[in-house]
């Protein structure tokens, strides 16, 4: 039947509706704001499906009565009503409690409620018969099972004294039990979700999802348009998304006759745009990365905040000590996972995590779990020279310094001065003494300084992996961004590669990472670098988890080695979407290529060193050629905007002599205004001028 049972059982992530939260609260005996009555389920939407729904209700009622008699009867009626789905309902027909019957009678749309209760009863009472089902409903979502493992390994990685471990566990017990509760709640939700799925199976095998545009014509079109303008019915949308995903999973069986897959996909995209608020462009871009079900999980995961994670500063303290200190302050925490020895995940805190004395004295830094990955992949050694090309706010830089134990030298570059403040603050707060902070455009780098043992390039990106953190990405990224950003990333990556010293005994590595999940910013950038720099190759990142990068996508072939890169998605590891690739430089950049570029570059530099600095760039001639010619030129230099360079051309031709006159006059005026003797300036100037002239020549 197409997709495995497991996928169906796990179901998609639970809905955003308040409804089930309210239900949970009610179960826990907490006061609840009356949630909106469960909105009419999708079955009511179309006339066609109403009868089948009636059927199912009828059968349920029938079974209720039967069960009242004290005997479980497998309802033959269901078989008849539902045709080929009969085997499933037979097995799963719940044994409803008498008390739930009332609600059934009152409101037939409240079935969900009823059935969930029925199911839980069922688990208790008739375990033998329904065991199979029960076990499956116990399945966790992927990331949850991860959590389970974590519990077993609480602090077991870096600590050997089991006493302290126990103590810590005891102190943390509250948090752990809370987690357990959460998990129970989640299981309940999942059971519900499963039930919903079941119901779908009962009610109709071919859900009607697409509108009959041909029949209804313009009126319907208009109607749908006005609907789109109005606030969408979220529950309805959600159900439709669910249905569509299910249909797309098993298209042959579930699709309506005569409908193309593309129609369903379009409908799904539209719904997702409406439901989550993405721009159609971005929605499609992201959707195409996954299978429909996975895409749905991805969009769903983007709605939930990722857990707060802190990184222990091993220059100042140990993770165990830090955990103990924070627990004493009323923070509930747990190691972030087996893969990291420095991460702690915060569940709950009575104090602001960003202002504890431990934070202020630099024992930890707030850092997303995904930001650990590039540093772990870089595997910097002590006494190396490392470059971090885009470093603010300093999470990765300080992590690097900690990994290198404050030896060697780290160049932390940041383009924006305002962001550099936070960077310098963090560097000092965490006690890193081997860091030099500079303020270049990273694309200048091989010229400022080269010969690094390792380079970390966490490139500026569209942030499609961190939509949970910054939802504005949903709407403000356009097609242009996905041309301009990869362009810059390609330049940065080439610069990074050129800055590395391939003869380094320990190093010669470049790590490229982005917090984006799109192909344009990841695989295609890496593939571009591989094609432009035959002297680098991809190597294992050394990360134990993550999905392999795409080796080909939509007809583009990136090469086999791309499978060495790693992708991380918000819905799989409960961390931000991320991409990591690790290069090793094995030879110098080919001499013919370098020579040409260098020669041109130097000439350009001589001519207008001043201008270059201001533009943060260099000769436009390089740029044009570089894009066109694959082999000859190596683009180490930023590409100046077309407009800018043109402006330069039109504007050119300064007359130095004439200018000097004006400048001098202005200076004299300024002196006079300040009440000084302008002639004094002139006297000094004549001497100075010649000196400075000599100087500039030397510099050039």
């Amino acid at each position: 039947m197409g997709v495995g049972r497991r996928m169906k059982k796990q179901g998609p992530p639970e809905p955003l509706s308040e409804e089930h939260f309210a239900r949970l609260k009610r179960k826990a005996g907490l006061p609840v704001d009356d949630p909106p009555a469960a909105p009419p389920s999708k079955k009511k939407r179309t006339g066609k499906e109403v009868p089948s729904k009636r059927n199912s209700v009828a059968t349920k009622k029938g079974s209720t009565k039967e069960s009242k008699n004290g005997e479980v009867v497998k309802p033959a009626a269901t078989v008849a009503a539902n045709g080929k789905k009969s085997s499933k309902p037979k097995k799963k027909q719940p044994e409803p409690e008498p008390e739930s019957k009332g609600s059934d009678d009152d409101d037939e749309f409240d079935e969900d409620d009823l059935e969930v209760e029925g199911l839980s009863d069922l688990d208790d009472e008739v375990p033998g018969e329904f065991k199979d089902d029960f076990l499956e409903s116990d399945d966790d979502e992927p990331y949850d099972s991860d959590d389970q493992n974590e519990k077993a390994h609480l602090f077991s990685e870096d600590e050997d004294e089991s006493d302290a471990e126990e103590k810590l566990t005891a102190a943390n017990i509250q948090g752990l039990s809370r987690k357990l509760d959460e998990k129970l709640a989640q299981q309940a939700e999942e059971a519900e979700a499963e039930q919903q799925d079941l119901q779908l199976n009962i009610t109709g095998d071919r859900p009607k999802i697409l509108d009959d545009l041909e029949e209804d014509g313009d009126d319907a079109d208009l109607l749908s348009k006005t609907k789109a303008l109005l606030a969408p019915d979220l529950q309805l949308l959600r159900n439709r998304i669910n249905d569509t995903v299910r249909v797309l999973d098993d298209f042959g069986k579930l699709a309506e006759e005569g409908r193309a897959r593309a129609e369903y996909v379009n409908q799904l995209l539209k719904d997702i745009c409406a439901y989550y608020g993405y721009s159609p462009f971005l929605c499609e871009k992201l959707f195409n990365l996954f299978s429909p079900r996975e895409a749905f999980a991805f969009f769903e995961a983007n709605e939930k905040a990722r857990p707060m994670v802190i990184r222990t500063n091993t220059l100042r303290t140990h993770r165990r000590d830090l955990a103990q200190a924070l627990i004493n302050r009323g923070v509930t925490l747990e190691p972030v996972g087996k893969w990291s020895k420095v991460g702690l995940q915060i569940f709950d805190s009575t104090v602001p995590i960003g202002a504890t004395p431990e934070y202020l004295s630099g024992h930890y830094i707030l850092q997303a779990a995904s930001s650990f990955l590039p540093v772990m992949a870089l595997q910097a050694q002590e006494h190396e020279r490392v470059l971090d090309m885009a470093s603010a706010p300093g999470g990765k830089t300080t992590h690097l310094a900690a990994v290198m134990k404050n030896t060697g030298c780290i160049f932390a570059n940041e383009l924006k001065k305002s962001r550099a403040k936070a960077l310098i603050g963090n560097v000092h707060r965490l006690g890193c003494r081997n860091v030099v902070v500079c303020n270049y455009d990273a694309r200048e780098f091989p010229h400022v300084m080269g010969g690094f043992d390792r380079v970390l390039l966490d490139a500026p990106c569209s942030g499609t992996g961190v939509i949970a953190k910054d939802p504005s990405v949903k709407t403000n990224k356009t097609e242009r961004d996905f041309i301009a950003l990869p362009h810059m990333q390609k330049q940065l990556l080439l610069c990074a590669i050129d800055s590395v010293n391939h003869t380094s005994k320990t190093g010669g590595y470049v790590v490229y990472s982005t917090c984006s999940v799109t192909i344009d910013e990841n695989e295609s950038v890496v593939a571009y670098a591989l094609s432009k720099r035959p002297n680098v190759r991809l190597v294992e990142t050394g990360l134990t988890f993550g999905k392999e990068g795409f080796t080909s996508y939509m007809g583009k072939n990136f090469g086999k080695s791309l499978s060495l890169t790693r992708r991380f998605y918000p819905h799989t590891y409960n961390m931000d979407g991320f991409f990591v690739a690790k290069f090793q430089k094995i030879a110098p950049t080919p001499p013919n290529a370098t020579k040409v570029t260098f020669g041109k570059q130097k000439k350009g530099a001589k001519e207008s060193s001043e201008h270059q600095q201001q533009q943060g760039g260099s000769g436009k001639s390089n740029d044009a050629i570089d894009i066109g010619n694959d082999d000859e030129f190596i683009d180490k230099t930023p590409i100046v905007d077309e407009d800018e360079s043109k402006k330069d051309d039109n504007f050119g031709g300064f007359d130095e002599e004439e200018d000097r006159e004006y400048i001098e006059r202005a200076k004299r005026n300024a002196m006079r205004r300040r009440g000084l003797d302008p002639r004094a300036l002139r006297k000094g100037k004549t001497d100075d001028k010649e000196k400075s002239k000599g100087k500039t020549e030397k510099e050039a």
Partner: protein
Amino acid sequence: MRPLTKGETHILFTKLANYTGTSLNSLISPLDNAPGSDRFVFRLHKDRVFYVLLSIANLATSVSRDKLLSLGVCLGKFTKSGKFRLHITSLPILAEHARYKVWVKPNGEMPFLYGGNIVKAHVGRTMADCPEHQGVVVFNMNNTPLGFGVTARSTTETKHLDPTGIVCFRQADCGEYLRDEDALFASG
């Protein structure tokens, strides 16, 4: 970026010696006895003084002046009037070599980190022979440095002080990382 002049060195060292005492020597001694071994040096860059390994300082010379923002540890800055002011960023250096220390109790941590002076009631431990107006480094009871200041009275005098009396004037505390980020790191 340049080494300090004689006058500047003098001013800086007088200031540092107020906190470190004689262990000032160890600040600038080579890391090991091998010839040509690395040592820490002081570098002035845009009125700020940085304490940095010589090898790193040499590497940083390839960064142009207006693009260099920070290197190593920033100790503080020369004011326009030529005095030297220590910044909180110098705390790890001072804490390592401190001559006199004050430990504050847990209930005194937050008031100090919010910029308050240390009152007698908050002092958990102190050194016996501390004179008046002596630079001290402030620790919490776990021996984590929190800041530094100068004593308001000598240790013997504080014994007769009432619990709300000020023992130590705050000069810098870790809370400044949050409060004064703009002023602290906006070099130039």
